[in-house]
Symmetry: C2
């Protein structure tokens, strides 16, 4: 698809392709987009029957680059999970990973140019909902000639998106995998995300969304990322990993009350990477979309999910997840089962919290391989 | 004690008394204070044998006003726990609650006037340690003519202070009660506290500690308080209490990305109260003191605690506590037992997280009454 590549550095490898969304693209809570696009990457081959496709939605922050490919040999965010012979076996499956609508890695979002004005949308971007992300992904599958997915799959935000997908598109997928998602954002998660948004908006450099590209609200973004990082992991993991080791000298500043412990250095290095990679306004939109998600808007969850006509479902959750509790995972599984899908619920004992799906490839891989195989 | 009352509003009830600390008062990590004082309140009567005293240390933020008294009839932070016939029975016990050294409710701290300069200490206040808070409380007891406490007691920060107290002052207490404290700050708690400090320091109004009294770093303090509040409670409690109810209209602003859910309004109301009540520099000092606390600095915990010669100990912890895990409570109990105190460990099933001791008076009261009675 001969689309512009809006944010790739000259000469960097790039496996993204772009799907144009219908113009206009009406948004779930009102407003519409014109000339919008979704960046995606693919692995494996769509078979002749076009029935081996997996549509993969991401968490809040990753790009579509889930794994290496000839066009972009760099490791992806699920590198050890997705590939030939791996749990998501691209010898058999055709995998499509989309960068979420509203994000900033090639898909249209608040950092994109509004064709009506020639300037970035910023806060004039219409309200974004998890349902819009689902619909945009669905359009990508249609563009690729896929009538029915083998599996729709997503972790975290993606775990919400797949539920919206099921409610919105009857018959569009045969199977569903929800990883550490939720039927409706919990007040605890809302609290933690809203503090992250306030950290960004409280930074004078945010300028009500009108920061220059070379001067984003670094302090607020850094704080938001640090807090996000804490919520994605667990106390038990960090006790093992950092204990009370002193901070690495290069991550120790000279300011008063500077970092003293290794865990603070870890947060600092996470924040430094993030501040230069993610657009602040996109983060605000995506984060709020997560808070607002409530499958109940589509009816009682079993009925809403039942509309999808799913044959099978897999729900994976982690006992140590602070942000999307194991009780929430069980509720998803119960609703899918009640909605008619033969559902396996896999509560895992990983200690890495919400991010376990990125880390504990062995446990998660075993579940995914068993389900997909 | 005819001491100045540095921060009471004219005409407000005030039960505080003040103890002068030895001059100079050497600090645990170096430096010293001159003319320092500790604010405290008392309930009940010291008996003739002077052996019925309870010294109560507070969490990070409360003042010495733990309960009402004739001099100040307003409810205190442990109102339903401490009084005649209550779990901490002031018909029998003489209770002394101290405002921590380094705090801002009458005790000397970074917001106090440095007698050497006539100006506020701000960041020139010497390094503050949990050990200094323990020593300052010990001096209050000595001032009151108490040779040996019946019980030294504290929740949260106070739960760290009592352990430092035991290590520092052999024979100074017969019994010890540690509530939701720790032998050494965990990396998870350090991470969460350091983000709160950064929120304050990242606010341009902090001005490297030189904010005017009428213009504190409100944005940063508010963020810090919101995050603190999340860490003090639990997801399960908030699901019951807030679910996805909409925010109260008076707590919903007009800004973009404003509060939409009840839990956000709750955080906002907590923050508004806090911003006008607590000094930012004091918060930074106390928060860092918690991070730095490691009883291991006094030797192996059983040996360090064994020096105290305690007869009995009670350790109370809460399964839902995010910040001071139940495993940490068990470790305190094990160390006290190994150090020679007959120790009861009470892991409670409260759902209110770290703050349960303030909320679940029934469960905590039963344990305290059983131990003290």
């Amino acid at each position: 698809m001969p689309a512009p590549i809006p944010d790739a550095e000259q000469g960097e490898p790039d496996a993204r392709r772009y799907a144009r969304l219908p113009d206009p693209f009406p948004m779930w809570r009102g407003g519409m987009l014109h000339g919008a696009q979704i960046a995606y990457e693919t692995w494996g081959k769509l078979n002749a029957a076009r029935d081996n496709a997996v549509l993969l939605f991401t968490g809040l922050s990753p790009p579509a680059h889930a794994a290496a490919s000839p066009q972009d040999p760099r490791d992806g965010w699920w590198q050890r999970m997705l590939g030939p012979g791996l749990a998501i076996d691209t010898d058999k499956l055709f995998v499509v990973c989309v960068n979420s609508l509203g994000s900033c890695f090639g898909s249209t979002g608040p950092a994109s140019i509004d064709p009506a004005t020639g300037r970035r949308y910023r806060l004039s971007f219409p309200d974004l909902s998890v349902e819009d992300i689902a619909r945009a992904g669905h359009e990508v599958a249609r563009t690729l000639g896929i009538e029915r997915l083998d599996t729709v799959m997503g972790p975290s935000l993606g775990g919400m998106v797949v539920l919206a997908y099921a409610a919105l598109f009857p018959g569009a997928a045969r199977r569903l995998v929800s990883i550490s998602g939720t039927l409706a954002a919990s007040p605890f998660a809302i609290a933690l995300r809203s503090i992250q948004r306030e950290a960004i908006m409280g930074d004078p450099d945010w300028r009500h969304g009108h920061y220059p590209a070379d001067r984003p609200p670094r302090t607020g973004l850094g704080l938001a990322r640090k807090l996000g990082t804490v919520t994605y992991r667990s106390a038990a993991e960090w006790q093992q990993r950092f204990d009370r080791q002193p901070v690495r000298p290069d991550l120790k500043g000279n300011e008063p009350f500077t970092a003293e412990f290794s865990v603070q250095g870890y947060l600092e290095s996470q924040a430094r990477r993030w501040v230069n990679a993610f657009d602040a306004n996109c983060y605000l939109y995506l984060s709020r979309a997560m808070d607002r998600f409530d499958l109940g808007a589509h009816g009682d969850p079993p009925a809403a999910l039942g509309k999808a006509g799913l044959e099978q479902a897999l729900v994976i959750g982690v006992e140590s997840d602070l942000l999307f509790s194991i009780a929430e995972q069980r509720a998803i599984a119960d609703a899918l089962q009640a909605g008619g899908a033969a559902t396996r619920f896999a509560p895992l004992q990983c200690i890495e919290g919400h991010d376990s799906f990125l880390v504990d490839i062995e446990r998660f891989g075993r579940e995914l391989k068993g389900f997909l195989g």
